[in-house]
Structure formats: C-alpha cells, structure tokens
C-alpha cells in the first residue's frame, strides 16, 4: 500500500494546510460532523503513518467518553428534556413576562440572567444551550421576539458555562499551567459578568432602537389573582436553583453531583405538579440519549484529531510558528488569539484546549505575562469558538433541539453580533488586564 505513510514527505507545514483544507471541504459536503473530524483523522493516521497508528484514535475515543468531566452534560440535557415535557418552562416565562414585561426586551434580559444562573451551576457547556434552546427559545418566539435575537441570546447565554465559575476550561488550564484554580475563578468572575452585561446592553439597544425586535411591553393591568397564579410559576424553578446552588456552595455536592441534584429537583417539581409519568421519563431519557450522542460525538473527533496532529509533530510546529513570529510580546499574544480564533472555526473546545494550552502556557510564562490573566483570556476565546462558524458547537447543540425550519445558516447569522461582542470582550481583556486582575 503506497498511500500508507506517503503524506509524511510533504512536511508538517503543508500537512497542516492539507489537514485544514480537508476539514473545511468535508465539513460543507453534509457528512455528519462527528465523522468529518474522525475521517480526516483516519486519513492522516493512515497517510502520515500507517494502519498501526489507527488504535490511537480508538484509544482517544475511549478516554474521551470515559472522562468524568462530561457527566454533567447528560444531567443538564435530562433536566432540559423533563422541563420541556412539563409546563414548568411555560409558567416560568409567563411569570418572567409579568416581572420584566414592562421594559422592552425584559424577557430576553431575564433569559441572560437565567443563563448566568445556569452557568454558575455548571462547569461545562452543551447542557445549558440545549436547556435554553428547549425552554427559552420557544417561549421567546411565542411572546413575539425576533427570531435571530432569540437564537443569539440562547446560544451566547448558554455558552457562559465555561466563563462564569465554576469552569472546566479554567480547571484544565489551571492543571496545565500549574496555577491556582481559585485565582482563575476569582479572575474570571468580572470578565464573565462583563460579557453577560454586553449581551444585555445589546438586547436593550435592539429593543429600543430596532422596531419589531422585541414584543411590545405588557401594558394592561394584570388582576391580582392572575398575578399570584403566575408568580407561582416562579416558585418551583427557584426552588430547584436553590437546591443546586445550595448543594454546591453549601459543601453538600461536587459540581458534577449538583447537576444530578438539578435533575432530581426538576423531577420532583413535575411530580408535585402532577405531570410526572413513565412515558414522560422515557421520552425525556430517549431525547437525552440522542442529544448527548450528538454533542459528545462532535468532541470525540476533535480529540482524536489532536492526538494524530501531535504525533505528526504539531506541537513543535505550532510553537516554532509562534516564537518565530515576532520579538514583541504583545504581537505574540495577538498571534495566539488569531490561532485560537482560526482553530475555533474548525475544532471543538476540548480539541483546542488539548492542542494549544501545552504550547501557549510555557511561552506566555516566558514572556512574563501573568498566567492567570491569560487563562481568563483563553476562556474568553473559547466563548468565541462556541459560536463561530463553520464549526460552532453552541449552534450545533441548539440545532439538535430546534424545529427543522430553523436552519444552521440562520443560527450562524443570528450569532454574528454576539461573536462581535465576544471579540470586544477579548479586546478589553487584552487592553485592560485589570478587568481580570483586580
């Protein structure tokens, strides 16, 4: 077989180029995403080395699916699937309309608030986008929000999980860079909040400046009895939030365990509302299996690709690329941002983190920058990667639970303003490191 090992002669530069070209080409042909990255990985495993390297891929698949950090993803999706099948979400958003309906865009702003609360309950993304996609999106559309605005709010808000502490991105970074995870969390708090505020600012700007973006405020007075009925809709969701956050911050459960507490809370709520049934649980569990299958298989390919690329000599290639670019530290940092941005177009965050952290961290420390600050900057860059096309995980997660009439293209178009806001946040972190290092 002359193909086996033949690619190696092209060298790592051309090889990297071919790898990305192939990714892009296969991405747009309609091959299931999970298999795009897996296929490119297979081609390079065989073409660069030979059949004996293919077990590297299955080894990484095995390690990926059996890693503890993803356990909270099915928990959040299960929570979402149960909520979706009960009347809880609808009652919650009706109550939110009662509270925030008097300001333009009030419900969307509250959705960002809900997203921040969810982000404080989880360290990873996937589950929250699905949750908001199942719950907030239909309700916002029903209340008359502009489709694109609503989609953007859900994807951008749902991605905050790794920016607002706790965050698995920051934990992995802390382990890689040997810096305090506590300091990383503290440093990420204000930038995460700032990002959420940028989203709120954008929503309000759209609400007041672009007619039709949000529904008209509720003007007619609501009778007291009706108010009471609606406010009851808030009671159970708030109770669940208290259970989850209480179990984390009260030292009762670890972050992952707390996501299971959330599921139990939501299940209990449906039982209290008399909505619980075997078929509800069955349907929710099946939907969860399908959704996590989709979510996890997207990451599987990226993780495998990184393994093969590193074996090809990727680490050395990328670090020489970076150190060779300039002697000015800030140029190197900006170049790293550019690399993260480009990788964000092709890879899942796990792949990006696995690939770049080991390369960037020693360089950043050498340059004399604070590794804690860079960790927050890294997490902010991952926010961009969740949304940026053509490989935007948050968009994919949302797509997996929305009706077919919302196309991936429309989702990505909806995300553009939010990506701009994220890039603005990245720029602010670089210009004013004090945002993280107060």
């Amino acid at each position: 077989m002359e193909f086996f090992g033949s690619l190696q002669s092209m060298g790592i530069e051309a090889g990297t180029g071919l790898l990305f070209a192939l990714l892009l080409l296969l991405l747009v042909t309609g091959i299931p995403l999970a298999f795009v990255t897996l296929l490119v990985t297979l081609i390079f495993a065989l073409g660069w080395f030979g059949p004996n390297v293919v077990p590297l891929i299955t080894s990484r698949v095995y390690s990926f699916v059996s890693s503890f950090v993803f356990v909270s993803v099915p928990m959040f999706v299960l929570m979402a699937a149960i909520l979706d099948r009960s009347g809880i979400a609808r009652d919650l958003f009706e109550a939110m309309r009662l509270i925030g309906g008097r300001i333009r865009g009030g419900v969307a702003v509250q959705t960002i608030f809900v997203a921040v609360v969810l982000a404080a309950m989880s360290g990873i993304i996937g589950g929250e986008v699905v949750l908001l996609g199942l719950i907030a999106l239909p309700q916002m559309l029903r209340q008359g929000y502009d489709r694109r605005l609503a989609i953007g709010v859900v994807c951008a808000g749902g991605s905050l999980g790794t920016m607002v502490p706790p965050s698995i991105v920051l934990i992995i970074y802390g382990l890689t860079a040997n810096v305090s995870i506590g300091e990383l969390f503290t440093a990420a708090f204000v930038p995460g909040f700032m990002l959420a505020l940028l989203y709120v600012g954008y929503i309000l700007a759209r609400a007041y400046l672009t007619p039709g973006a949000v529904p008209d405020p509720v003007r007619e007075p609501v009778p007291a009895a009706e108010k009471l009925r609606l406010l009851k809709g808030l009671f159970l969701p708030i109770l669940v939030v208290i259970m989850v956050l209480g179990s984390i911050y009260g030292g009762i459960a670890s972050v992952t365990e707390a996501s299971a507490v959330g599921v139990a809370g939501v299940m209990l709520s449906t039982i209290l509302r008399g909505e619980f049934s075997w078929s509800l649980l069955r349907g929710a569990a099946m939907q969860t299996l399908q959704t996590v299958g989709m979510i996890v298989w997207i990451g599987i390919g990226a993780s495998a690709l990184v393994g093969v690329f590193n074996l090809m000599g990727g680490i050395k290639f990328v670090s020489e690329l970076i150190t060779g670019i300039s002697d000015t530290p800030i140029i190197i940092i900006l170049f790293m941002m550019a690399i993260l941005f480009v990788l964000g177009m092709f890879l899942d965050w796990v792949g990006i983190a696995l690939l770049t952290m080991p390369i960037f961290v020693p360089i950043v420390i050498d340059l004399g920058y604070d590794p804690v600050w860079f960790g927050v900057l890294f997490a902010m860059n991952m926010q961009v990667s969740f949304l940026s096309p053509p490989f935007g995980p948050a968009a994919f997660y949302l797509k997996s639970v929305t009706p077919p009439d919302i196309s991936l293209g429309e989702i990505f178009r909806s995300l553009l303003p939010f990506i701009m806001l994220q890039i603005l946040a990245v720029a602010m972190l670089i210009l004013f490191p004090g945002i993280a290092m107060y």
Binding site: N52, V53, P55, L56, S59, R60, Y62, S63, S67, F68, V69, G123, P166, I168, I171, I172, G174, L175, T176, A177, N178, V179, S180, I181, G182, E183, I248, Y249, G250, G251, I252, A253, S254, V255, T256, V306, G307, N310, L311, G313, I315, K316, L354, M357, P358, I359, V361, P362, I365, P371
Partner: protein
C-alpha cells in the same frame, strides 16, 4: 540523530516536573553526542495518561515518563510497585530498592511481556497531604472525608478509618473549596501550593506520610533491544542522574513553598511524629498483602519488597 524517540510524560506542560523532564531529554542528547533525540510530549498530547503503556507496546509512542500505578488495572503488581503506601520515607530508599534491591529486574520481568523495557525510576518525592482539618496522627483520620483516586491509597486510608471519596483530579479544588471533602491525596507540597489547594485546605501535612510514587522511564522493548549497548548505558545512566536532579530540585521547591506558606501565616503545616508514621505504615502493610493476593506478579512484588525492607531494617518482621 540516529535514533528519534517520542516520549509522553504524565505531567502537563506548565508543571515543574515537565520542565525537569525536558532536562533529561537534553541530557540524553548530550550524553549520546546527538545520536539519540528525544521528543518529550506533555500528558494527553498523544493518548491519555493511562493509555501510554498500550501505545508504547503497539509502537505509536516510543516511551513514557509516568507513574507506574496508572497501570494497576492491567496488573495489581503495577499498583503495589508504583506506590507501596507507607513503605518509603525517603526517595533514596525507593531508588536504592530499584537499583540494588531487585526492583529493576523484577519490573523488567513484569513489563517485558507487555512489550516494554524499564530503563529507570525517578520520583517527585514524598507527597504532602492536603487537609482542611488539623491532623496530628492516625486517630484524626477517623471519618475524614478525603479524596483518594488510586487503589492502594484508597484502601489504606479506608483501613485507617477515613472515608475515601473517589473524585477525579479536576474536581479536587472545587470540592475542597466548598468543603464537600476535607482532605485530598494530591501531589507534592510545592504543586499543591501553586495550584491553590493549601489556600482552601489550610492544614497540610508535610512531609507527607502516605505516598511516594515510582515514576518510571521506560520504552518499547524492540526499540530498546535494537539500541547498541553503549547507548543503552547512556539511557540508563541519564535516568539515574535525572532522578537525583529531580529529587533535589523538587525538595528545594517544596522547602521554599513551605517557608512561604509559613510566612503567609494563614497555613498551618503539620508534621507527624515518628510514632504516628509507624502506625500508618503498619496499617498500610496489611493492605499490601491483600494486593499481593490479587495476581502472581503482585505476589512477586510483595515478596521482593518485604525482603528488601526487612534486610534494611525498615520493617520489623
């Protein structure tokens, strides 16, 4: 270079251990006058930390620098050899056992069939114990909710009366911070300090009493056998030198971190008495026997280990 090898470390890129391991790679190049070039890769860059053995055997990787106990699932012997909890109170004892007590020969007897050649051992040193509660001895371990990931460490602490919780490394910080657990088996003092663990659990026990991991440097057996003898000797010697360099460097880092921690005033460093350490070791030895019963190789490790310890007067039996 005549020989180019890819080695994967079990440490992340920014970890001081990894920085030290790079000096080993450089030293090999120097000692072999450029005939061997080692490309050292950080943890997870090719395969996961507990998958390197397979990757080396199948020729994907050429070698690894890793904690032997990661392979306890393949054979309990690796767990007992990698971290015989309570056996060592000084890194030099462990290295002497490997070099002169039959450890290296035994390891090759066990690893060769797996397709690996053991070159030599090193260690980051005696790990420090992370705790939020003041611990002065074995009695204080009673009911202590603590993280312990590995088999033997877990059983020994359970036997000592603690409640081991099997948490992954990524959840240790948050769980300590929120008091889900009170204590953790994690790493050496300087690493614990750098990652902020001592800030959230302010009663570390240093020097530790529970864990001194054997970090092995080993490589694909066929590729080892293909090396000329002089280069094999270079590799063996380079690992010996590296072990001394690493132990010295990390001991220094530990002392510096301990001094800083004490100066900060918030952290209380506890040191167990010789009596308490001996009590813990006795409990641990009971658990070694249980591991020994799990496989013929583990029994061999147990026999060789106890013979060495008895000969050196480190255990009274």
């Amino acid at each position: 270079a005549d020989y180019e090898f890819k080695f994967q470390s079990s440490d992340p890129a920014g970890n001081p251990n990894f920085e030290l391991q790079k000096t080993w790679a450089a030293d090999v190049a120097e000692k072999s006058e450029g005939r061997i070039a080692i490309d050292l890769l950080p943890v997870e860059s090719i395969v996961a930390h507990n998958e390197t053995q397979d990757a080396i055997a199948t020729g994907i990787l050429d070698g690894h620098i890793t904690d032997l106990s990661y392979f306890a699932g393949k054979d309990p012997a690796f767990g007992l050899m990698g971290n015989p909890v309570g056996a060592w109170s000084d890194p030099q004892q462990m290295l002497d056992f490997v070099d002169n007590g039959g450890g290296a020969e035994l390891l090759n007897e066990i690893e060769n069939p797996y397709g690996l050649q053991f070159i030599g051992a090193t260690t980051p040193g005696l790990e420090a114990f992370v705790s939020a509660k003041p611990l002065e001895g074995v009695a204080d371990l009673q009911g202590l909710k603590m993280r312990a990931p590995e088999g033997l460490v877990q059983s020994v602490f359970a036997a000592a009366g603690a409640s081991p919780v099997n948490l992954p490394g990524s959840e240790v910080f948050t769980s300590l911070d929120k008091k889900v657990i009170d204590a953790a088996d994690y790493s050496v003092f300087s690493t614990n300090q750098a990652q902020g663990l001592n800030d959230v659990a302010q009663h570390p026990v240093y020097p530790g009493f529970h864990s001194l991991p054997l970090v092995e440097i080993s490589m694909n057996k066929t590729k080892w056998d293909d090396l000329p003898e002089d280069l094999q000797a270079v590799l063996t010697q380079s690992v010996k030198d590296f072990a001394q360099r690493q132990i010295a460097a990390l001991a220094e880092a530990d002392e510096k971190a301990v001094a800083e921690a004490k100066e900060g005033g918030e952290i209380t460093v506890h040191d167990w008495s010789a009596d308490e350490r001996a009590k813990f070791r006795t409990i641990a030895q009971g658990e070694w026997e249980k591991v020994a019963a799990q496989s013929p190789n583990a029994q061999k490790v147990y026999d060789t280990l106890t013979a060495y310890l008895t000969e050196k007067g480190l255990v009274s039996q």
